[in-house]
Symmetry: C2
């Protein structure tokens, strides 16, 4: 194996595939990035078995030479070293040469690195093939679906299915749902294709996919029983899906509400942030006091003191209500909505409430209140 | 105590004095900031006994009202809470009122905080008076002296005196020295005053002082046997000095050298950074290979591989030499020098070497080489 590659293409490719590499995997070869120099380009692969990422760097791009090939071949180089070396080398073009066994020479004008590789025979075969059932979705749309739901996944491994985001494709609608049992986020979008699938994708995979998505590239998604494959531009990502049935959550989301508060996202965010400054409990519980003529957010800690915040701009329909909740949950939900005009819908002090953008039913953020004794 | 203060002045003052507050002090009252509202302004004080910081906010500044006073008085408020509250409140003017015992009400239009204070009687008396022996030095000059020496102080508490920077004022020269016994940094400057002192100031105090210095304000420094006091604008900082005699280091610094390498700081920095990418030992040992016609920097790790870097631009006087050193020590030293043209002066493979700016004898960086078996 011997080739010369444009530094920026190499760095970019390594940046993508090393998102799939874990440094504490029990399989040593998976700490590496696999280089496959084929007849039409260089393939880079990184995998921790939960997520596998493959990217393709063609020999030519827009008629300009990206890679000059002398000999085809393969090697596996430790991700943490090759990534840093590529980033820090100064030349615009970097030469790779397999010189002896697994030893690879990486060089430019100033720098000469001999890097011990890992035996390429040990690298497992990973199937990146898309099947015939593919849905297409724009990169920025998928990125937003992920961002608006991923924070509500569970951090606890006791119910593994809740550590992922559930994607339910039913005809031409995609419904992404996440819940940690204290809150729930649900985003519905219409897609151009028709399909029927129900898979739960680990949040770690979605985080990495989100970072790789550039903008409005078209993403092809192919669903299997045990994995899901995303193809975007020259990159293919394969993620395992979490086994098990995602809980039925439809009945948790109320359809009707007795009380409606319309207000400004920024005001509520800054008031909750100030109110939670003095909370000493782990969950930062704050209390919302509402009546048709006054909205306040308060917190109280025996030890430290108390805060009362007044919300100036609002519209309120319904009877008086006081309700306590985790500051972080409400902040996450409002920030995920991302619009200034929001609605918060209630049915009572201990009933789940919903936060949504005004006139936007595509995203639902549901939160369970907390019982307090004030 | 009741007053209204401009938010920006309050935040700025708290920013300064909370640099002196430690959150895990054994003296509870010192987790607080002391507010003293006197006849001409507000005094804020923060202290962890090693370093104490006092700042003064006058009632008027440039004829504009900064503080409106209703009642003089004192209180102590927990630093971590009051700092965050002041930063996050939205009003341009914030009202403080001692309402009951140690309870202080802090409010603007939207926010109403009741913060439990700490009993002001418990706050220790701290003497910030300057004595008659004062030297004056410009803020940016002192900041640079600190920055060019502080990194070479010892991190180990086994010899406490080495955890500080030694300031020796002998007539009208100030010599700042730091060493962790593996390297030494020494900066000499001429000062306008004449004084004779030798004190060692804890590096933590110098770090905080450095952050408070704004630019070219004149700093007055007053030396006592057990403390040193810095006065800058409206702020006074008192730091303990480390007891004990600083070791005599003059004889460690060679006066003559057999070998001289002149080269470019940026080239050496980037070459050492690349060479140390593959080092697996804790000290990142790299090796410099020098002869009149070739300069290389290399590293080798049995497990990972090797790097050879070529330095293109240099002037070399003397015989061939190979010398090994800790990459981090040389990087720290070159970065502290801060000029592109540097000189490195050697006397042999196991003799200390010196790095300095070309034609600049004010700053000396001395480093001990490391024995390697290659």
């Amino acid at each position: 194996m011997r080739f010369i590659i444009s530094k920026s293409h190499l760095v970019n490719g390594l940046n993508i595939v090393t998102k799939g590499v874990s440094h504490n995997t029990p399989i040593p070869v998976l700490t590496g990035v696999k280089f496959e120099l084929k007849e039409d380009g260089l393939i880079l692969i990184g995998s921790d078995t939960d997520i596998s990422i493959k990217t393709f760097i063609p020999f030519k791009e827009n008629k300009k030479e990206v890679i000059t090939v002398f000999d085809e071949g393969e090697c596996v180089l430790q991700a943490k070293y090759i990534n840093e070396i590529a980033k820090k080398m100064e030349g615009e073009r970097i030469e790779f040469e397999l010189i002896d066994g697994n030893l690879v020479k990486i060089s430019d004008q100033k720098t000469n690195v001999n890097l011990n590789g890992i035996s390429v025979e040990e690298y497992p075969f990973i199937d990146f093939a898309l099947n015939s059932e593919v849905i297409k979705i724009k990169g920025d749309v998928l990125k937003r679906v992920i961002q608006q739901t991923i924070f509500a996944t569970s951090q606890k491994e006791t119910r593994p299915i809740l550590t992922g985001v559930n994607f339910k494709i039913d005809g031409n609608t995609l419904e992404a749902t996440s819940t940690d049992t204290y809150r729930l986020a649900r985003k519905k979008i219409v897609i151009g294709d028709t399909a029927y699938f129900n898979v739960t994708i680990p949040s770690k995979s979605l985080t990495e996919i989100s970072k790789i998505i550039e903008g409005n590239e078209e993403i092809h998604i192919s669903f299997y029983e045990k994995k899901v494959i995303f193809k975007l531009n020259n990159t293919i990502i394969s993620s395992r899906v979490i086994s098990g049935t995602y809980p039925e959550t439809d009945r948790l989301v109320p359809k009707e509400f007795e009380i409606k508060l319309e207000t400004i996202a920024g005001d509520v965010i800054s008031s909750i942030e100030r109110a939670s400054l003095l909370t000493t409990d782990r969950n930062n519980i704050v209390r919302l006091h509402m009546s048709p003529d006054k909205i306040e957010i308060s917190s109280r800690s025996q030890e430290v003191g108390s805060v009362v915040e007044r919300i100036e701009e609002f519209k309120y329909e319904g009877s008086k209500l006081e309700i306590s909740f985790s500051a972080g949950y409400v902040l996450d939900a409002i920030k995920a909505i991302g619009s200034e005009d929001i609605e918060i819908l209630f049915n009572g002090e201990m009933k789940p409430f919903i936060i949504k953008g005004k006139k936007d039913d595509s995203l639902t953020q549901l939160i369970l209140p907390v019982r307090t004794y004030q």
